[in-house]
């Protein structure tokens, strides 16, 4: 068995479909409680789509994101990303999959406090054979002046932009964002979404955002509402707003 995570002939579904979940469930224990985080979710995310998963806390949205990103494996069901059935991958293959296919953005940025902005981006870039230039990405996210600062010397918005830059370093086709503006103020949050929109439109990245903030759904192509681990509603947004027009 090879470590390759490129879509093989057999694995290849349709290139239109970027992410596909089939009857995906996830149960886990937290302390002494058994939690059914996701119950038989079936859905598809298309290439170049900007999709927002909405739901209150405990609805399973972060779990869903973790499963798509290969950070966690489902208890049952199938997940196909970029034509790869990631439920069939070994731990090593999953590592390689995350390295090449996925970019993560977290609520608390999760930057390495002992590395500078540029180094945090390079930290991810070093993992792939042909990474993008860290400086170029940082310039794209508007941090050319702050490259050599440590996370503690940057504002929350700047930290999140470093995190976005880091997510882009390996040039992934899918960007997964977990409450990316959860710890930012309104204006900074809008700027982050603007950046994500640009990436979605110009670089054709598939952007998946999970949030409890329903206002954010207005900028997405599609909104999926989750409740108690199930899809409660799917809304097709034919006229997504510009992030500048967002209000919450």
């Amino acid at each position: 068995m090879t470590d390759s995570v490129e879509p093989s002939k057999g694995q290849r579904d349709t290139l239109e479909s970027r992410i596909k979940l089939e009857k995906t469930s996830k149960n886990y224990r937290m302390g002494q409680i058994q939690i059914e985080a996701l119950r038989e979710i079936t859905l598809e995310v298309m290439a170049g789509e900007f999709i927002v998963f909405l739901g209150p806390s405990g609805s399973g949205k972060t779990t869903l994101l973790n499963l798509i990103g290969g950070l966690d494996s489902p208890s049952s069901g199938r997940i196909v990303v970029n034509g790869i059935d990631i439920t069939q991958l070994t731990a090593n293959q999953l590592t390689k999959f995350r390295r090449t296919q996925i970019g993560f953005i977290f609520q608390f940025f999760n930057l390495i406090p002992t590395l500078t902005a540029r180094e945090n981006v390079e930290f991810a870039a070093e993992l792939v054979a042909h990474p993008r230039s860290s400086e170029e990405i940082l310039r794209e996210v508007g941090l050319e002046e702050r490259m050599n600062h440590f996370p503690s010397e940057l504002s929350g918005g700047e930290n999140q932009r470093v995190a976005i830059a880091r997510a882009l370093a390996t040039d992934p086709s899918v960007i997964l964002c977990d409450e990316p503006t959860g710890s930012l103020d309104f204006e900074t949050g809008k700027r982050i979404f603007k950046l994500l929109r640009v990436l979605n439109e110009t670089k054709l990245k598939t952007v998946v955002v999970v949030t409890h903030n329903s206002a954010i759904g207005d900028i997405a192509h599609r909104i999926v509402r989750l409740r108690d681990g199930k899809v409660a509603e799917v809304i097709q947004n034919t006229h997504p707003l510009d992030p500048d027009e967002l209000k919450w």
């Binding site: 973790n66 999760n110 406090p113 930290f123």
Partner: protein
């Protein structure tokens, strides 16, 4: 230049961020490695120094002692291919050092060729010169004797042999490969230079002094390498036979007393042959060195084990606190192996930095230690060279042990699932401590006591590791202290409990018990007792030991015999008492019959019942009633010495009268011997002192780390307590109480561990000179425990200061820290 990967950069920066903790552990590794390299390289240096001295001064391979043999026998042996032989006269005399006190020293005179240096067992002239070609009244004085009595070339001394008495000029001060360790005989392996010394005189002078014209009583052989030794020895035996010496005995081929008696009847003369490995001076040196080698391994192993424990604790904490970062690394696509290696990198840095600096320090210390030891023993040639093998072993161990210790925490990262790792860990289930269930009133304690109590029990692993850190520091200090205590206790038992005399008159050969009563009537003498000490071979079944029997007056009050339980005992009619070390060697039990035969001569073989054991810390011997010993030797009224108790300070006149007794070879003062032993142990004290200092440094490093880690691990929790309004002082008090509670637990463990280690080590520490039993004085427990307490209180200061500086919004919110 190769760019440093970001993972490596993170590693370096993380180390730098916790530089105090990593520095402390590196320091422990440094100390362990330095100690190992210093002591082991010093051991190697000393071994090479001895061997080098033996080689440069052509130390003999064999010593053949006879009553007398013509010089030409030595010349004939010299003709054997591959053999260099020298004949010489060796005799014991009394030296009068021309001091006002009339002080006398038992001397051993060894003859040397006058015109040239001997080809075997040469001497190194340290000052002055070798014999001048014509002067016969010249001697060379061995360095230990010369230094003690401040003899210099040009001084005069008087040698007395029976009625022969002559004055000699000191031509030079020399060192001899045979007397690097000055041993008088197996019974007196460590005489003070005040009472015993060695000097060399021209062959012709010795012949006159001992009335042995044209004769020698010892032949020394040096055999070239690759020579067939058994063939050489056969030729030597032939030459001896030609000179009417038909029997050759050695340590491995003892002649039974029966055979000796038959030899006497038949007129068979015997030669006694000693191989270099059995040569007393060489054997004692090597034994001393082996003791040193044991210490060279024991302490570093203790240190590095503790360093490993500290690394383990530190990395566990690091991995735990970097859960989110680990989750992130895995999420970004770093492989498990990369993450494991990343965390092992911390252990590697600690090990490598400690080992590297330890190697540098160790080398410097090795040179200092070798120099100090060589100075103590007055070694003529000192080899100080780098021992790269030892350095390499030290460094490999210094790196490998932390790596091994880091493996477990590093491996733990592989079990972390990225998604879980990035989620804040579920708070541990809060519960009452077991003691609270057992002792319900504890639940009603104020929070300032209840919190520390619950914290101690909440995370048993953390509690255990901190307790283990404290325990190991205490154990180390305790083991070092136990050496001091055991030595002090040994000297105390010997000089305060057993010996109840101020001085001992040592006779030249044997004297009369009547001399004791004569001395007792001298002014300034309170009490005297005659003793008779004879070298004997004791046999119990298959087991044999050469020792000496001391004949003591029944009910002696000047030489107390202590039973193993510490109570007083006495020699018993018809029976023999053995020292505990002889008990061990012979495996004998009370009631067993022992065969006794004198080591020399044909008179005095008998069988005795073993009636008891005595504790003799210095030397090993057997005890019998004086009269019975005299009867055994068919020499009633003889003695080999007199024990004395002075009435106050002895006057110069009294001492002169004692020295002037015709039988006196020398006077040994108990206080003097004790001081000399202390001095001889000087190096040992230096070593233990260094260990103790390092032990304290180690304790500090370990406790500092455990306490800091304990506080840092709970930054957030502490920040929350601060946030809800707990004052810094109260928080500091809670932490201090908690640390003290864990410290007490560690203290108990440490005392048990230290005690066990000390006992285990002392059990092995038994030489022909000294048998030490494991003794730890209560003061040592107190010192070790209070040192640990002080260190603990001081070590928590940086951690508490951190709490003071903690940014509450950051610490309560930022999970990525």
């Amino acid at each position: 230049m190769v760019a440093m990967s970001k993972l490596h950069r993170k590693l370096l920066r993380d180390v730098w961020a916790a530089k105090a903790q990593f520095g402390a552990v590196s320091l422990v590794v440094l100390l362990g490695v330095a100690m190992f390299i210093a002591s082991y390289a010093a051991y190697e240096n000393l071994d090479s120094s001895y061997e080098g001295t033996y080689e440069r001064l052509s130390m003999a391979d064999y010593w053949i002692s006879v009553d007398y043999i013509p010089q030409r026998a030595a010349r004939e042996m010299n003709e054997i291919p591959g053999v260099v032989a020298e004949g010489r006269i060796v005799g014991d005399v009394s030296l009068d050092l021309a001091k006002e006190s009339g002080e006398r020293v038992a001397g051993r005179v060894i003859s040397l060729p006058q015109q040239r240096h001997p080809e075997v067992n040469d001497v190194q002239v340290e000052s002055g010169s070798y014999f001048s070609s014509h002067a016969v009244r010249e001697v060379l004085v061995e360095k230990h004797l010369a230094e003690y009595h401040e003899l210099e070339p040009g001084d005069w001394l008087t040698i007395k042999n029976g009625d022969n008495k002559a004055r000699f000029k000191v031509a030079g001060i020399v060192t001899s490969p045979e007397y690097i360790w000055v041993a008088k005989n197996a019974q007196e392996p460590m005489p003070s230079p005040r009472t015993f010394g060695v000097l060399f005189m021209p062959q012709s002078t010795a012949e006159t002094l001992f009335s042995m014209n044209g004769l020698v009583n010892e032949i020394n052989l040096a055999v070239e390498p690759n020579t067939d030794r058994s063939a050489v020895l056969e030729e030597v035996r032939q030459i001896l036979r030609k000179n009417h010496i038909n029997r050759v005995t050695s340590k491995d081929e003892p002649v039974s007393i029966r055979a000796r008696k038959i030899d006497v009847i038949r007129g068979v003369r015997t030669a006694y042959m000693v191989e270099r490995k059995d040569h007393l001076g060489n054997r004692l040196l090597k034994m001393d060195l082996e003791g040193f080698q044991q210490l060279a391994v024991l302490f570093p192993v203790l240190f590095l084990s503790m360093a490993s424990l500290a690394i383990y604790v530190l990395l566990n904490r690091l991995v735990e606190s970097q859960r989110v970062q680990i989750g992130l690394m895995r999420a970004l696509g770093y492989g498990k192996r990369q993450v494991v290696f990343h965390y092992l990198g911390f252990a590697f840095i600690v090990g490598a930095a400690g080992s590297l600096l330890g190697a540098v320090l160790g080398n410097a210390l090795a040179n200092a230690l070798t120099g100090e030891y060589a100075r103590q023993l007055a070694l003529p040639f000192v080899v100080i060279e780098p021992h790269w093998g030892v350095v390499a072993v030290g460094m490999v161990i210094g790196i490998a042990m932390p790596l091994a210790a880091g493996l477990f925490p590093a491996w733990a990262t592989t079990r972390m699932r990225p998604a879980e790792a990035m989620r804040p860990a579920a708070p541990a289930a809060g519960r009452r401590a077991l003691v609270e269930t057992l002792l319900p009133f504890l639940s009603r304690l104020p929070y300032v006591l209840k919190l520390p109590m619950r914290n101690v029990f909440r995370n048993p692993r953390r509690t255990f590791f901190m307790a283990a850190g404290v325990a190991s520091a205490i154990a180390l200090v305790l083991v070092s202290m136990s050496f001091v205590d055991a030595m002090e206790s040994t000297l105390y038992t010997q000089f305060e409990r057993i010996q109840n005399f101020d001085a001992r008159v040592i006779f030249q050969g044997t004297g009369a018990t009547a001399t004791a009563s004569y001395i007792s009537h001298l002014e300034g003498i309170q009490q005297t007792e005659a003793i008779l000490e004879v070298p004997y071979r004791v046999r119990h079944g298959e087991k044999v030991s050469d020792t000496s029997i001391m004949g003591l007056p029944e009910g002696s009050s000047m030489y107390n015999l202590l039973a193993p339980d510490g109570s007083l005992t006495s020699v018993k009619q018809g029976g023999i008492l053995l020292s505990l070390s002889l008990k061990k060697k012979l495996g004998a039990e009370i009631g067993d019959m022992l065969q006794l035969e004198p080591v020399v001569g044909t008179i005095g073989d008998t069988e005795k019942r073993l009636v008891g054991f005595v504790d003799v810390p210095l030397g090993s011997m057997a005890f019998m009633p004086l009269r019975e010993t005299q009867r055994l030797l068919r020499a009633p009224g003889t003695a080999t010495g007199v024990l004395l108790k002075f009435d106050g300070e002895p006057s110069a006149k009294l001492l002169k009268r004692l020295y002037d007794l015709p039988e006196t070879a020398s006077l040994e003062f108990a206080g003097e011997t004790r001081r000399f032993l202390d001095e001889m142990m000087g190096f040992f004290w230096v070593f233990i002192g260094v260990m103790l200092a390092m032990g304290a440094a180690l304790g500090m490093a370990i406790i500092f780390n455990s306490v800091t880690v304990n506080v840092l691990e709970r930054r957030r929790e502490i920040a929350i307590m601060r946030a809800i309004g707990m004052s810094r002082n109260r928080l500091s008090l809670i932490l201090t109480l908690e640390n003290l509670a864990i410290g007490c637990l560690g203290g108990i463990l440490g005392i048990l561990l230290g005690h066990y280690l000390a006992v285990a080590y002392m059990a092995q520490f038994e030489t022909d000179i000294m048998s030490m039993s494991a003794v730890i004085f209560p003061r040592s427990y107190v010192i070790a425990a209070s040192a640990a307490l002080v260190i603990l209180l001081v070590s928590q200061i940086p951690a508490i200061r951190q709490i003071y500086r903690l940014s509450l919004p950051t610490a309560t919110k930022d999970w990525s820290e």
